[in-house]
C-alpha cells in the first residue's frame, strides 16, 4: 500500500513534461550507444554525464538511468545485424539472432527481443517497487561498522567474479581504492597524495576517470577492429508467427525470473544472466539442435533476462548503495556527482527523487518499446556510419565533457591519461570494473571504517561484536574463498572465460 502511494507520487513527478523529455532523451541516447558498436553502456553513460550537469538532480538521474537501460536494449540490434554485440550483454544474442537475420528473419529477432525486454524490464521494475522499501527500511539499522562490511562485501563480490584472474581483479580493486584516497583527508583535513597540485585537493574527478577508462580506451580499441559487414535483412515483419510466439513467450517468462533473481546479487555482471538463460533454453528445448541455427528462444530468453537484470540490479544500488556492474558503478558516480548517495537513507532524504526515478523505469520501458518496434529500421541505418567518424565524435565529446566539469584543462589531461591507461589495461586483460568499484566505494568505505573506530575508541572488536556486521564479514570471506578455490558453478566460470 505504502509503495503504491509512493509510486503514484513518483509517476506524478516523472510524468511532468520536462522529466518525460529527459526520459525520452535518455532512451534515445541510450539506444544510440547500444547500437553503435564499441561504445558500451558503461562508456556511454560515463561520457554523457556532463550533459546532465545543468539539470536538476531528479531530471539528471532519470536521464542517466534511461541512457543505461536504453543501452542495454539497443545492443541487440548490432548483434542481430552485424554479429557484433553493441554491448557485452548482447554477445549471446549474436548466435541465434544473427543466424535469424541471415535467414531473413532479422525483423522477427529484433521484434521479439524488444517485446521480451519490455516484459522483463517492466516486471522487474514492478518487483523493485514492492521490494525496495522493505530492504531500505531493514538497512536503516546499519551503522558505520555494517556499512564498512557491506562495502567490503560489494568489492569482494565483483572482484571474485570479474575477469580471468583473481589476482588481477584484486590488484585493480586496490588501485581503485588508492586513487580514491587522493585529495583532502575526509576526517583530518590534511591533503593526501596531491603532490602539491591544488587541482587534486578535491580528489581526482570521477567523471574524467570513467570517461577516460571507458570512453577513450574504447575509441582506441575500436580503431584496431576490422570493418564488419552489415546484413540487409527484412525488417518489415517484426512479429513472430503463432508457433514461434508460443516458444518465445515461455522463454520470456523464464528469462524474466532468471534475470530478476540474478540482478539481486551484486557482482554477477550483466553478461552472466544472458548466458545462463541461453543455456537454460537449450537444455529445456525439445530439439536443442535448432540452437545456433536461428532458434527464437535463443534470442527471446537472453534478451529478456538482460533487461530484467538491468532493472532489478537497481535494487541493490538504490537500497544498499552497492553497484552490481561497472555501468551501475558509473551510474552511482552520477548520483554522487549530483550530491546524492544511493543507499537506505536516500529513501528518507529524497523520497520524491527516488520514486520519480523508479516510476521513470516503467515509462522508460514503454518508451523503449515504442522506439524499438516501429523505428528499428532507423536504428539499423546508423550502422552504416563508418567507425572512424564515430571515434572522432566520441573523443571530441569526451574532451568537451571533461573540460565542462570545472572549466579546467587539467581534467582533460587527466581523462586522456586514464584513457591510455585503460587501453593498456584492457590489452593485458586486466578488468576495469573492480577499479571503478574501488574508486566509487573507497571513500564511503574509508569513512565508515574510521567512524567505526572513533566510535569504539580504536577497538577493532566493534566489527565482530555486532552480529549483523559479523554476518556480512563472514559472507565476504566465503565469497573470496569461493573465488580463490574456483567454487563458482561450472557454467558461471565458463561464461567468465568467454
Amino acid at each position: 500500500m505504502d509503495a503504491a502511494t509512493h509510486l503514484l507520487g513518483g509517476f506524478a513527478a516523472a510524468l511532468s513534461l520536462s522529466n518525460l523529455g529527459y526520459a525520452l532523451a535518455g532512451c534515445v541516447l541510450g539506444t544510440l550507444i547500444g547500437v553503435l558498436p564499441g561504445l558500451g553502456p558503461a562508456a556511454g553513460t560515463a561520457i554523457l554525464i556532463p550533459l546532465t550537469f545543468n539539470l536538476d538532480p531528479t531530471g539528471a538521474i532519470i536521464m542517466l538511468c534511461a541512457i543505461y537501460y536504453g543501452a542495454m536494449y539497443g545492443g541487440t540490434i548490432t548483434s542481430v545485424l552485424i554479429n557484433v554485440p553493441g554491448e557485452a550483454a548482447s554477445v549471446i544474442t549474436c548466435i541465434d539472432g544473427h543466424e535469424m537475420a541471415k535467414q531473413g528473419r532479422g525483423g522477427v529477432a529484433l521484434g521479439v527481443a524488444a517485446i521480451g525486454s519490455f516484459i522483463g524490464g517492466s516486471i522487474a521494475a514492478l518487483l523493485l517497487t514492492l521490494m525496495a522499501l522493505p530492504i531500505a527500511r531493514a538497512a536503516l539499522q546499519f551503522g558505520p561498522p555494517e556499512f564498512f562490511a557491506l562495502m567490503l562485501l560489494g568489492l569482494s563480490l565483483v572482484t571474485g567474479l570479474a575477469g580471468r584472474s583473481l589476482l588481477a581483479a584484486l590488484m585493480m580493486t586496490v588501485l581503485g581504492l588508492a586513487i580514491a584516497m587522493i585529495g583532502i583527508d575526509p576526517v583530518r583535513g590534511a591533503p593526501r597524495f596531491a603532490f602539491g597540485l591544488p587541482e587534486l585537493y578535491d580528489g581526482v574527478e570521477f567523471v574524467s576517470v570513467v570517461m577516460g577508462l571507458f570512453g577513450v580506451s574504447e575509441v582506441l580499441l575500436t580503431l584496431e577492429r576490422p570493418y564488419r559487414e552489415v546484413i540487409r535483412t527484412e525488417l518489415r515483419k517484426l512479429l513472430p508467427d503463432r508457433v514461434e510466439w508460443r516458444a518465445a513467450l515461455n522463454a520470456i517468462w523464464r528469462g524474466t525470473g532468471l534475470g530478476f533473481l540474478l540482478g539481486l546479487i551484486p557482482g554477477i555482471g550483466a553478461i552472466i544472466p544472458t548466458f545462463l538463460s541461453y543455456i537454460l533454453e537449450r537444455r529445456l528445448a525439445k530439439r536443442p539442435e535448432r540452437f545456433g541455427k536461428g532458434a527464437i528462444e535463443g534470442v527471446a530468453g537472453p534478451e529478456t533476462a538482460n533487461n530484467a537484470y538491468a532493472n532489478s540490479a537497481m535494487i541493490p544500488l538504490l537500497t544498499l548503495g552497492i553497484p552490481s556492474s561497472p555501468t551501475i558503478a558509473v551510474l552511482m558516480g552520477a548520483f554522487i556527482v549530483n550530491g546524492l548517495t544511493p543507499g537506505p537513507f536516500l529513501f528518507q532524504e529524497r523520497p520524491d527523487l527516488v520514486w520519480a526515478v523508479i516510476a521513470s523505469f516503467f515509462i522508460g520501458n514503454l518508451i523503449l518499446l515504442v522506439l524499438n518496434l516501429p523505428l528499428v529500421g532507423l536504428w539499423a541505418r546508423l550502422l552504416y556510419i563508418p567507425s572512424h567518424y564515430l571515434c572522432v565524435g566520441v573523443l571530441l565529446f569526451c574532451i568537451v565533457g571533461a573540460y565542462s566539469l570545472k572549466q579546467s584543462t587539467f581534467d582533460i589531461w587527466l581523462m586522456l591519461g586514464f584513457g591510455i591507461a585503460g587501453y593498456l589495461l584492457r590489452k593485458i586483460d586486466f578488468p576495469l570494473a573492480p577499479l571503478i568499484l574501488g574508486l566509487i566505494l573507497g571513500p564511503i568505505m574509508e569513512k565508515s571504517l574510521r567512524t567505526s573506530l572513533e566510535i569504539s575508541a580504536g577497538s577493532y572488536l566493534i566489527f565482530i561484536e555486532r552480529p549483523l556486521c559479523l554476518g556480512l564479514l563472514i559472507v565476504t570471506l566465503l565469497v573470496l574463498a569461493s573465488a580463490a578455490f574456483n567454487l563458482a558453478p561450472r557454467e558461471v566460470r565458463e561464461v567468465e572465460l568467454n
Binding site: 536503516l140 539499522q141 546499519f142 551503522g143 558505520p144 585529495g183 583532502i184 575526509p186 576526517v187 583530518r188 583535513g189 590534511a190 591533503p191 591544488p198 585537493y201 578535491d202 550530491g339 537513507f345 532524504e349 569513512k447 567512524t451 572513533e454 566510535i455 575508541a457
Partner: protein, 326 residues
C-alpha cells in the same frame, strides 16, 4: 616659479589619486562575485543568496553567488585570499572554521588569517547540545556527570574536525574537570541524525539552525544552547550560562570578507550597501524562517570579533592536537 612647481606637483598627485578615487566612486561598474565555500543549498548558501538578491538592487550591478565547495571550505577560502583585491570578488568566512583551517598545520593552508578583510557579519548561529528523545541524559548536568563518571565512553559527534562543535566539546571538558567525551567526527548534521537515531552516537554537538524542526517535532531533545542568552528559536532550552558553565560559549558565524588590500572606500561602500540589505524586512523574514539568527557586526566591532575568535580557536586547536584521547 615655485608656485608653478607646486601646482604641477599638486596636479600630479591629484592625477595619480584620481583613478583610485574614481574607481571607488564608480564601484561597482561590473558584476560582483560572492563566493560561498560550501555547496549550494547549505545554510551559508541560503543566507548568501538572500542578501545578494537584495543588495544587487541597491548596487545597480548583479551580485553573483559562486559556490567553491571542497575540503571543509579550504578550497573557497584559498581562492578568496588569492583573489584580486578590487572589491569584485567577495566571499563568506565561517568563523571559527576559517580560523582553524589556518591554525591546523596538517591542513597546509596557503593563506593566513590576516589575508582577509572582514566587512560585515550576517548570522550568528549558537551551538547546541542535543540527544535522542529517549536518552537517559535529561540535562547538561546529567551528561557532564556521566562523562566524569565514565570518561571516554560517551560517543559524541561533531560536524567535522576542528569545527566549532569540536571546539565546543573541548570547552565543556575544560569547564568540567574530569569529564572526557569520546569524540566522533562526522560529516555534518545529516550524519549526526543517522548516528543518533541508529544508536551509534550518544550525544551530538551542532548549531541551533540545523536542529530546530527536530526539537519541535519531539524526535530529539536539546540539552543546552551554548550562549549567554536563550535562542529565540528554542525558547524552552536553557543556556550553558544557566547550567552553570558560563565559559562554554560557542557559535558558528557567517560573514562577508574581501581579500586584504581592497581599497577602504570600496569596503565602506560595500559595508553600507550590505548593512542596508541585511536590515531589509525580507532578509530578516527569510533568514528567520530558516532558524538563522541575524547578528550584524561591521567595521571595528567585526574585526575585534574576528581577532578574538581567532585567539579562542588557536587555544582549542592546540589542545585538540595534543589531547590524549584522539
Amino acid at each position: 616659479m615655485a608656485n608653478t612647481k607646486r601646482l604641477a606637483l599638486g596636479l600630479a598627485v591629484a592625477l595619480a589619486l584620481l583613478p583610485a578615487a574614481v574607481a571607488a566612486q564608480n564601484f561597482p561598474d561590473r558584476p560582483v562575485q560572492l563566493m560561498v565555500a560550501f555547496p549550494a543549498g547549505g545554510s551559508t548558501d541560503i543566507g548568501a543568496r538572500v542578501v545578494a538578491a537584495i543588495a544587487e538592487k541597491a548596487m545597480g550591478q548583479p551580485m553573483v553567488v559562486v559556490n567553491k565547495a571542497g575540503a571543509g571550505g579550504q578550497v573557497g577560502w584559498t581562492e578568496l585570499a588569492r583573489a584580486k583585491p578590487d572589491g569584485y570578488y567577495l566571499g563568506y568566512i565561517n568563523l571559527p572554521a576559517t580560523n582553524t583551517v589556518v591554525l591546523d598545520p596538517e591542513r597546509q593552508a596557503i593563506f593566513k588569517e590576516t589575508d582577509f578583510q572582514p566587512i560585515i557579519n550576517q548570522v550568528l548561529d549558537p551551538g547546541v547540545i542535543w540527544v535522542k528523545a529517549d536518552s537517559p541524559y535529561k540535562s547538561l548536568k546529567d551528561l557532564t556527570e556521566a562523562a566524569k563518571a565514565q570518561p571516554n565512553t560517551i560517543r559524541t559527534a561533531t560536524t567535522g574536525i576542528l569545527s566549532d562543535d569540536h571546539l565546543a566539546i573541548l570547552m565543556v571538558e575544560e569547564a568540567v574537570p574530569g569529564a572526557v567525551f569520546r569524540i566522533v567526527h562526522l560529516a555534518g548534521g545529516a550524519d549526526q541524525m543517522k548516528g543518533v537515531l541508529g544508536g551509534t552516537i550518544d550525544v551530538a554537538f551542532d548549531n541551533v539552525g540545523s536542529i530546530v524542526p527536530r526539537v519541535k517535532s519531539g524526535e530529539v531533545r536539546a540539552l543546552a544552547v551554548m550562549d549567554r542568552a536563550r535562542s529565540k528559536f528554542l525558547p524552552d532550552v536553557p543556556t550553558t550560562l544557566e547550567a552553570g558553565l558560563p565559559n562554554v560559549v560557542s557559535s558558528s558565524t557567517r560573514g562577508i570578507a574581501a581579500p586584504k588590500g581592497t581599497p577602504a572606500a570600496v569596503i565602506k561602500k560595500l559595508e553600507e550597501t550590505l548593512a542596508k540589505a541585511m536590515a531589509d524586512p525580507e532578509h530578516v523574514a527569510k533568514l528567520e524562517a530558516q532558524g538563522l539568527a541575524i547578528k550584524v557586526m561591521t567595521g571595528a566591532e567585526y574585526q575585534k570579533y574576528y581577532d578574538e575568535t581567532h585567539e579562542v580557536a588557536k587555544k582549542y586547536t592546540e589542545w585538540a592536537k595534543t589531547r590524549p584521547h584522539k
